[in-house]
Structures are given as C-alpha cells and as structure tokens.
Symmetry: C2
Subunit: 156 residues, 2 copies
DNA sequence: GCGTTATAGTTTCATTTGAAACCATTTGCA
DNA sequence: TGCAAATGGTTTCAAATGAAACTATAACGC
C-alpha cells in the first residue's frame, strides 16, 4: 500500500493545529461574537451598519476631523469611510463642510439628528461591554487591560 | 442661536465612546492584525484563502468530518464551507467521499497534497502565535489563557 | 510662476460574502 | 407504507468589500 501521510506526533512543529487552543482563532471567535452582539442591538433598529456606527462614534468624540483622520481612528480604509460618510450625510446624521485652507479636506461633525442616534447607541454599546466584562473578576479585568495594552502596543 | 447638542460629561452613560479604550474595538483590532499577519505568510504563496486554511486545519486534526461538522469546528457558516471545499477538492487538497449510511453527508479528509500544504502552513501559524505571545511574560500568558477560557465559555 | 509630485476623497470594477431558495436524502410518525 | 418535516449541502442573487484608476486641490522644486 502507498505511503500515507499522517499527523505527526502531537508535539511536532507541523502537527495539526488544535484550533480550540490556538490564540488567533480564539481571539477571532471572541471578537466576532462581541461585535456581532453589539451590532444586533442597533443595526436594524437604526438602519446603521457597523462601519457607519464606527464613524459616528469617532465623530462624537472628535468633531471636525477629516475623512482621512476618521479612517485612521477607526482603522477602516478610506474607501469604506467614504462610503459610510456618503450614507451618513445623505441620512442627515453627519454634516460635511469644506476646510477653509484646504479645499480637498472635509470637516466632519455629527448633526443634531446624528447626536440623537449617537446618544442612544453609545449606551447600548457600553452595556454590552459591561456584560462581557462581568464574566471576569476585578483582578482578571485588570490583567486583561494590561495584556491588551501590551499586545496592541506599536501596531498589533 | 439654536440649541447645540454636545457631548455630555465624560462620565455620562451616553458620552462618546473612547474607541481606544473600548474592549470590543480593541479586540477587533488585535484579532484582525494577528490573523492578517498569519494569512500574509501563506495566502499568496499557496493560493490559499483564510477560509480554506481553516478548513484544512480542522481536517488535519479530525479526518472524516462532514461539511456541517467542519462548519461547527471552524465557526464558519455552511455556505462558506461549501465554497471552500469546492475549491479544495478541485485543487486536489481535500478528498470528498459519500457517507456509507447517509448519502447526503460528505466524508472529508486531506489528500497527500493537502497534507503537504498543511505541514508547511501549520508551523508558520504556530510561529506567528509565538511571536504574539512573546510580547507577554509567563504570568501574563497564563492570565490570558484563563481570561479567554472564561470569556469564550458557553458561546462567546 | 510653472510643471511635477503628493494628498484628500470618490468612482469603477471585480471579488467576496451572506441570506434565502433550492435539491436530495433521511427521519419521524400517522 | 407513505407523507410531512428536518437535515446536508449547493446554487442563486443581492449587498459588502477592496484594489486600482480617477478627479481635484495643494505642496514642492526650480
């Protein structure tokens, strides 16, 4: 019979990955689950996709940003930001002006209607975050913060 | 002048989110960064999208699964699995047979060619995981495992 | 000033993705 | 048995996404 490839011994470098213990996989599951739970709260209710909410969130915090700056802050790419902004402006949730000294730049901010949405969605997002953190005790929460700070330092 | 909506005091429940301190956002950035780094290693080199690698990874570990079982293990939806399998079978990396007692079911496993790819990619994935974990000390790594176990318990 | 290069943002086009409809087979049960 | 409901898997269609090309303005070098 022909030679069969088989999983090598479990300790070998090329042994099959145990996804259930593989950090990148576990992070991906956790991240998707949490983000989806939040999105489910507002998505259909406000006709607001995740990308648009992210843009609104940073504009809530930093009024007057340009589209490029929004892209930086949200870690979205500029095409995605451009599309989200088009819809948000159309929906009257974001105001777009032209920069005084640079006509290429937008100067973006939430409208009153945008703030109204923001002020409903933000607490929902916070509540979900609290739900997740409630699964941990105080010591674990402190370590989690510290660990994420380290892992996210200097770009991922 | 018209009443202006403004960010409420920073402690208020509806205050703007600070994305940089918001857990779901931080998890998303970290997860995407890590997954992307791994994918960059093999994606173009083996013409192997992430979805297909995930399928190969579980088949490396559990030969004989059905498509539905692969979907469960990978946390992908069945359409994505179906498409990944179509390509993997076409590429000769996965073997698909029909289950003896249930003609609806596939019985899936890696081919020799599939194992060859697997045995190159798995070490690369492991190496990237090690790189990430190297940013932490032993104590932090232990806490991270414990925290993820808790957060992922009973579905996210 | 004037041509070149860089930057902000949008549009186009091709690919990816997901939901729902679909087909085949099996299971549950009258 | 035989028929309705459930299950495994694929296909179809519409929406989301990303890369590259494009427009407009600004900055740079001479």
């Amino acid at each position: 019979m022909p030679a069969k490839h088989k999983p090598a011994p479990a300790t070998a470098e090329h042994a099959p990955l145990q996804l259930e213990h593989f950090l990148p996989y576990r992070l991906s599951i956790l991240s998707n689950t949490v983000s989806q739970a939040i999105a489910d709260d507002y998505q259909s209710r406000f006709d607001l996709p995740v990308t648009e909410w992210r843009v609104m969130a940073v504009l809530g915090r930093y009024a007057g940003l340009s589209a490029r700056e929004v892209a930086e802050r949200t870690a979205m790419d500029k095409v995605a930001v451009s599309r989200a902004l088009a819809r948000l402006v159309e929906a009257g949730r974001v105001d777009r002006a032209v920069h005084d000294n640079d006509k290429r730049r937008s100067v973006l901010s939430l409208t009153d209607a945008g703030w109204a949405v923001h002020n409903e969605v933000a607490p929902m997002a916070r509540a979900r975050e609290r739900e997740v953190l409630a699964k941990l005790d105080a010591e674990e929460r402190a370590w989690l913060t510290r660990i994420l700070d380290k892992l996210l330092a200097n770009g991922g």
